[in-house]
């Protein structure tokens, strides 16, 4: 045992005896190697991907130019043959000036070309990316997820606005005093749902998002249910009563009028 300890101390002493300058040179050498390899990897990645990116932009630019040209030619041709007038004579003048058949055809052709350019560009990019799959590129799939998430976000915002407006107008016409609250509730319900879907699509947050969404969604639904339930008890009971009365009258029975109720003057008003 004593011999073993002595030999270890001797060995440590031998290590400490190595000059410090030699060790520094080795570390620098390793760092330099690592940097060189990193730069090499990034440059190789760029070399692998750059033609694809370039091809993407060239394809989009070329097809956009083609689209502009075709759109211009189509607009001139259709105007020359008086396409709008002929169509109006056959099927009626149902077009607004901003969306005349000529305009729709011209715009349609332009966007078809742009879409075609995008498809071809992505295809070219995909080919160049496939050749470089050995490289650790994790950002590119994430970008496609991000595009999907952006589409979900836009759709969610549009649907939220539409539903909020529908609820607002219906609630106002039903003369509900809390129409705006109801509309806002529906809007945020859809927006929260959209946000959860976007985060889920981006794979951000994991279980935390699901949990938070569940709590938030449940909270909004409960709030709305309480607001509607407490605020429109009379409305619901009136609706149920009128439904019941209609049902009884259809069956041949008549509900006797409640006592001490003044005659309803609205019977004199007929909208149609």
């Amino acid at each position: 045992m004593g011999n073993l300890i002595a030999s270890i101390i001797a060995a440590n002493g031998a290590v400490q005896a190595v000059p410090v300058t030699a060790d520094d040179a080795s570390v620098l050498h390793h760092m330099s190697d690592a940097l060189h390899q990193s730069i090499y990897r990034v440059l190789t990645l760029l070399i692998a991907v750059l033609p694809g990116i370039l091809a993407f932009f060239v394809a989009v630019a070329l097809f956009t130019l083609c689209g502009m040209l075709i759109s211009w030619a189509l607009r001139r041709c259709l105007t020359w043959v008086k396409f709008d007038m002929r169509l109006a004579r056959k099927g009626g003048d149902n077009w607004s000036p901003a969306s005349s058949p000529t305009e729709i055809a011209a715009r349609g052709s332009f966007w078809v070309c742009v879409l075609l350019g995008l498809i071809i560009g992505v295809s070219a990019f995909d080919t160049s990316y496939a050749t470089g799959t050995a490289l650790p590129i994790t950002l590119l799939p994430y970008v496609t997820h991000a595009v999907g998430a952006a589409l979900i976000l836009v759709a969610g915002i549009v649907i939220a606005r539409f539903l909020a407006r529908s609820v607002l107008i219906s609630a106002v016409n039903a003369q509900l005093q809390y129409a705006r609250v109801l509309s806002l509730g529906v809007k945020w319900l859809v927006l929260v749902l959209t946000a959860a879907m976007v985060l889920d699509h981006l794979e951000v947050g994991g279980n935390v998002v699901e949990l938070a969404f569940g709590i938030l969604f449940g909270g909004i639904v409960l709030t709305l249910a309480l607001a509607v339930g407490l605020g429109s008890r009379d409305l619901v009971s009136r609706s149920l009563e009128s439904h019941l009365e209609g049902h009884v009258e259809r069956n041949g029975d008549r509900i006797p009028p409640p006592p001490n109720v003044p005659p309803v003057t609205s019977e004199q008003i007929r909208h149609f």
Binding site: T265, Q268, I269, R270, H271, F272
Partner: protein, 401 residues
């Protein structure tokens, strides 16, 4: 459904239905109605016309209480009860051809309340060749047909230059060429998913250049929609009229002189009717507080300011000025055309404004002004403001002051 199946023979006793295919001067196409109403209508028809020149086409079964010497044939039943539908015009044209009629009288539900003289007058106007389209002028209670008074009549008069008081009348007299025209127009809407489509015979006749006559028919029981919800009715009727206006834009943009008034205005006034004013004004105030975001997409700022000013008025003195109402309706027509917002939302947003007009109308009539005089004033305001509609129709991007 094919044309040949639209009019089929009725299992009617032989002595009442002989010579169904023989020519007749007048074809009366009656809507589906309860048996007692149908009997009463047949009795009125028998009084009004010599029976050998008339054929009645109806979906109803013949009953024993009606006159036995009338020729009655069965026709396809329309789905609607409260107004004429495009399919009714297609069926009427088919029946008219089959019976080689010179004129067609279309009668809606509740037509038994029309007196025989009224039926005779309507038929005569077509049979004499004086008119291609005969529209009845009903004598309704002062507070009935308010959508017609607020929107349909003023808008039709201003744009199409006709004084027809009931553009969506449920009874019509048609010449054969008018029936043909309406059937062709109706064919576009006979697809199964277009049950809610309406035809506007007055607009069709005006665009075609056919003569229109209006006949006083006195009081009539106007059938009401099965769903009395104002939200649904207003959206359906105004949406249909706005769409028709959009279709005929090239016609009505030309200046057109409205013919002078032929009949004196009725001075009949309602004894009451202000009971609902407070509720309607409250509905308008609620909308004014909540729908600014929607209205601001449709109405110009000065209209919004005016609405805000009127919303603070007391219900008993509330009134919607005629020119403001005309401007609002025109702006909604423009927004409908431009699809500024979803059309369902747009027509929904019009409802509180319409209720505000009704409240104002009730207050005006309660103050002693005859209902018809106020409606004429509204129609005159629409006429006067037509250049605004034409200007915005052509250059929609600017809000004129």
């Amino acid at each position: 459904m094919t044309d040949s199946s639209m009019t089929t023979e009725n299992p009617i006793p032989a002595e009442t239905s002989t010579g169904n295919q023989a020519a007749a001067d007048l074809l009366i196409v009656a809507a589906s109605m309860p048996p007692e109403q149908f009997d009463a209508l047949l009795n009125n028809v028998a009084i009004a016309f010599s029976v050998e020149n008339v054929v009645v086409a109806a979906p109803n079964e013949f009953t024993a209480n009606g006159p036995t010497n009338l020729r009655i044939v069965s026709t396809a039943q329309s789905t609607a009860a409260w107004t004429l539908k495009p399919a009714d015009f297609v069926n009427a044209r088919q029946a008219g051809h089959e019976h080689q009629a010179r004129a067609i009288l279309m009668l809606g539900q509740g037509a038994d309340s029309l007196n025989p003289g009224a039926l005779r007058s309507m038929a005569d106007a077509v049979l004499t060749g004086a008119a291609d389209l005969v529209v009845p002028h009903y004598t309704l209670p002062p507070h009935a047909g308010l959508i017609n008074s607020a929107i349909l009549y003023p808008l039709t008069r201003a744009l199409f230059g006709t004084r027809t008081r009931f553009p969506l009348a449920i009874d019509l007299g048609l010449s054969l060429r008018m029936a043909e025209r309406l059937a062709v127009a109706g064919q576009r809407f006979t697809a199964p998913n277009q049950d809610d489509a309406l035809l506007w015979p007055v607009n069709e006749a005006t665009v075609t250049g056919f003569a229109i006559d209006e006949v006083d028919v006195g009081p009539r029981q106007v059938p009401q929609p099965s769903d009395p919800d104002i939200n649904a009715i207003l959206a359906l009727v105004t949406g249909s009229l706005f769409a028709d206006i959009e279709t005929k834009a090239t016609f009505w943009q030309r200046p057109r002189r409205v013919p002078p008034m032929r009949r004196p205005l009725s001075d009949a006034n309602a004894t009451d009717g202000t009971g609902d004013v407070a509720r309607m004004v409250e509905a308008f105030r609620l909308a004014n507080a909540n729908l600014q975001e929607v209205w601001s997409l449709v109405l110009p700022p000065n209209t919004l300011v005016s609405l805000k000013r009127f919303s603070v008025l007391d219900a008993s003195v509330f009134r919607m000025p005629e020119n403001l109402w005309a401007r609002i309706v025109f702006d909604f027509v423009i927004a409908y055309r431009l699809r500024t917002i979803n059309r369902g939302h747009l027509l929904g947003a019009l409802i509180p404004l319409y209720l505000a007009w009704v409240a104002g109308h009730l207050n005006v009539t309660a103050s002693g002004t005859a209902s018809e005089r106020h409606i004429e004033a509204v129609a005159a305001a629409f006429e006067a403001d037509k250049p605004y509609l034409v200007a915005r129709w052509r250059w929609p991007d600017r809000f004129n002051s």
